[in-house]
């Protein structure tokens, strides 16, 4: 009788070994730098354990002000984003407002435009010489300015989450309230809002964390206005390069993480006990017929969108076409000189090349790691893979400036004369650490939606691993995974927080180049470069759209 070994059987006991190796690698990659940073905070000047950095920080009154600034600005920004987001979501989900598709796209614009470009555009819009400044006298370089910029960049997050939530509220729940005698406002406050509390708390948490993480806006507006927040303060501490700058920054990073953690716990407390109770499917039919109000509301939304998502970018382009800073734009003064300079600037070209390279490679690496760990966790129910999922998700909630610092501390020393610090690879590493969880989440969704029998049917049909993935698993999960890859690419292109710490000559990214131009006061060049980036993003979005349309047409034909 033949035995199993003759038949080249799968030895199932070898999997844990790979699992343990993978878990160890994930730990070293994703968690070790953060632990290293933690250790750094407790090492004194003499190299032993010490709390001296904490004492030094406690005696530094300005740091209290920094924490206060962060909390004030982020709270304001979170509330403003929530108000904007929930308002738009309500109108879009409930009413029969016309042009929904176009409004939706315009509302989401800030999600795909880097916040530093948005900020740069608004800086051009509110130049002292601009017509907007002369009418409103709004000082962008202020607390209010920073809060406004945060809200402009972050409201789409609240909008998206609430939109989907509103559409999932069964309309019978509200009709029951109508029958019980509730008016429209009562119905909103007594039924809709309580049902939305959990989603809203979650959305606000995300906004708060991403404000805490943001570097572009606070660096562009806050530093000139001398308003320091945690991320800019840590950045300044690190680049000051004094004896203990890293240790001090590490201590500050711990404070920042503590703030982030406290906010997460607070949000969890709030959303605790809220009932989900929504339906699975989104209901796209309007529930409120606007009649005569329709066009008034449409006009108001149009104004907002023009002011927030169109005019700033037009100003950016006119500023790019203006030769010198502060000169008013007119057809006579228009010139392509800035574009010419940018296109002949090696740093600009290099930045673009690096950013594209990083976006593509980061998406691929994150994709492979994220999809495979998701697969083993969700499909094979491997406990090791579940642990790895936790490790990978953790750095995502850590502000980027902390990750950047911990990577410097961990990788700055050379290892047998070899170091990735000062090269583009450390940027790649930081993007992989930050964004793998994005793909992990989208592939978890994909696998949750994919019936396990789909894969088993292929296996029972005799298909081995490779054809199973190529013919069945990947085609059926491609939607969520592709959108996850897209998100990673966009996030990498938009990244400035860790990049600002980790870049070096030759490895600058688009964000870093714009940051450097702006810090050096060359806002016209920054505008020209940003305009080019926007055009490229637009072209890329167009290509994606076109491919989608073509693909559909081809499929229909087949």
């Amino acid at each position: 009788m033949k035995t199993v070994t003759d038949a080249k059987a799968e030895r199932t006991d070898r999997i844990p070994i790979w699992g343990i190796l993978g878990a160890a690698a994930a730990f070293m990659l994703f968690l070790w730098p953060l632990l290293y940073l933690f250790r750094e905070a407790f090492i004194g000047m003499d190299g032993g354990f010490s709390l001296e950095h904490f004492r030094e920080l406690a005696g530094d009154g300005s740091f209290g002000k920094v924490i206060f600034n962060s909390l004030l600005i982020n709270t304001g920004a979170t509330l403003l984003s929530a108000a904007l987001g929930i308002g738009f979501a309500y109108v879009m989900a409930y009413t029969d407002i016309p042009l929904k598709k176009m409004i939706h796209t315009l509302l989401l614009l800030p999600l795909v435009i880097p916040s530093y470009i948005v900020t740069l555009a608004w800086m051009q819009m509110f130049l002292k010489t601009s017509i907007f400044y002369r009418i409103t006298h709004f000082e962008l370089y202020s607390y209010a300015g920073i809060i406004l910029m945060f809200a402009v960049c972050q409201y789409p997050m609240v909008y998206l989450l609430c939109l989907s939530h509103f559409r999932k509220i069964p309309r019978e729940l509200e009709q029951a309230a109508d029958i019980s005698g509730c008016g429209r406002w009562k119905r909103f406050t007594r039924i809709t809002m309580p049902l939305t509390k959990g989603t809203l708390a979650n959305a606000m948490l995300l906004v708060f964390l991403s404000c805490l993480d943001n570097f572009g806006i606070v660096a562009f507006i806050g530093i000139p206005a001398n308003i320091q927040v945690l991320s800019t303060d840590i950045y300044k501490t690190i680049i000051s390069v004094t004896d203990n700058s890293f240790s001090l920054a590490a201590v500050k990073a711990i404070v920042l993480s503590a703030v982030a953690l406290a906010i997460i716990l607070l949000a969890r407390k709030i959303s605790e006990g809220t009932q989900a109770g929504g339906s699975e499917k989104e209901d796209l039919m309007p529930r409120i017929i606007l009649n005569k109000w329709k066009y008034l509301i449409l006009a108001a939304m149009g104004m907002f969108l023009a002011l927030v998502n169109v005019i700033p970018f037009l100003t950016l382009i006119t500023s790019a076409l203006t030769k010198a800073k502060g000169v008013a734009f007119s057809l006579e003064t228009a010139s392509l000189a800035n574009f010419d300079k940018v296109l002949h600037n090696s740093k600009c070209l290099n930045g673009l090349r690096n950013s594209i390279f990083l976006a593509v490679v980061a998406a691929l690496v994150c994709g492979v790691i994220g999809v495979s760990i998701s697969y083993f966790g969700e499909r094979k129910h491997s406990p090791i893979a579940r642990q790895m999922q936790n490790m990978i998700t953790f750095p995502y909630s850590i502000p980027g400036i902390i990750l950047g610092l911990s990577l410097i501390l961990t990788y700055a020393r050379s290892f047998h004369g070899f170091t990735i610090y000062g090269t583009i690879w450390i940027l790649l590493l930081s993007y992989v650490i930050r964004f793998t969880s994005v793909i992990l989440r989208s592939s978890n969704t994909a696998f949750a939606q994919l019936d396990a029998a789909m894969e088993e049917a292929a296996q029972a049909s005799g298909a081995g691993t490779e054809p199973r993935w190529r013919r069945v698993i990947l085609p059926l999960t491609s939607g969520p995974i592709a959108s996850g890859l897209g998100l990673v690419m966009i996030s990498s292109l938009m990244e400035l927080t860790t990049s600002s710490l980790l870049w070096s000559g030759g490895s600058e990214t688009v964000g870093v180049v714009i940051f450097n131009f702006t810090s050096a006061g060359m806002s016209n060049l920054a505008s020209a470069y940003s305009s080019l980036i926007l055009l490229l993003l637009l072209a890329a979005a167009g290509c994606v759209r076109l491919t989608g349309v073509l693909w559909k047409a081809v499929r229909k034909k087949r």
């Binding site: 009788m1 199993v4 059987a9 088993e456 029972a460 049909s461 081995g464």
Partner: protein, 343 residues
Amino acid sequence: MSTIAEHLNMEFNGYQALKDVNLEIQKGEFIAILGPSGCGKTTLLRLLAGFLKPTAGRILMDGMVVADSNCMIEPNRRNIGMVFQSYALWPHMTVEQQVRFPMEYSRFSGFRTDRERKERAEELLKLVGMDGLKNRYPSELSGGQKQRVAIARALANEPGLLLMDEPLSNLDAELKIEMRREISRLHKEVGGTILYVTHDQSEALGMADRIVVMSQGRIQQIGTPREIFHKPANAFVAKFVGQSNLIRGQWEENSFICGKGERVDGTGIPESFHKDSLFPVKADHIHLVPAGRSRFTGKIREMEYQGFQMKVIMNMDDGNVVQVLVQPEMDCREGMEYGIAFG
């Protein structure tokens, strides 16, 4: 292909789903695994398919060990076909692509060229009555049509063992009967060995050559449909498959005594009933007689009119509850006293 399961045990996190299962499936047989949900029948099927590895025991296919507690051969290296409860048709492939898939990837496929595969796919789709719909996607098919495609796909390579996991449970009643006939016809026409998992006893009785009755992870009885129905090995089989009354009383050798000394001949009733002090009898094998003519008496609790006959539920004086089938014109009212006669 013959398949043998030897002392199979399967444990999930301390829960024993299969306990010492032994089964031999001969080439060409149609075997039904019958049991209530949670009895381990799907676990057994998944072990045979290779989606699970047994915690003890082994599985042999054509004399070769394909799984034991250390090693196992993956499903794609076993000569099997499978029909899933949810059909598991791939939403992105047409009917023809689904059927061709196993021919393209299975190492047991005898269809090497594109032409052979095309012909085989056409032949199969004709066999299941789907030849006009080969370019449809699953979303464009009805439940019964999906079922037919799933069966065609599973049959594509003429598998040594065809596993069917409750394939009719998602169909409505009428379609169920139709597909049941269809599967029986396919088995006759195509031959091949089938292992069919179901919780529906009429499916098992109507289609299978042999039935394996399972409960709580153990095989309760293996036999032909007639044996299972008429000679249940124990109380569980009598109740689940035979829908028998289980009357509580005393055994004296081969006689069973119930009520106030009613004595019934119990020759041939298996020992396990003696042990449980139970006597299995079907509702149409007993009748109601005037109270004086039997020592096993009780009162009518309720009646259920069923057209050709009437089901009467009796509360017996000794605490037994017994169902009897009687002529619909019989004079029955709640609370009336009757005796029960056997045979």
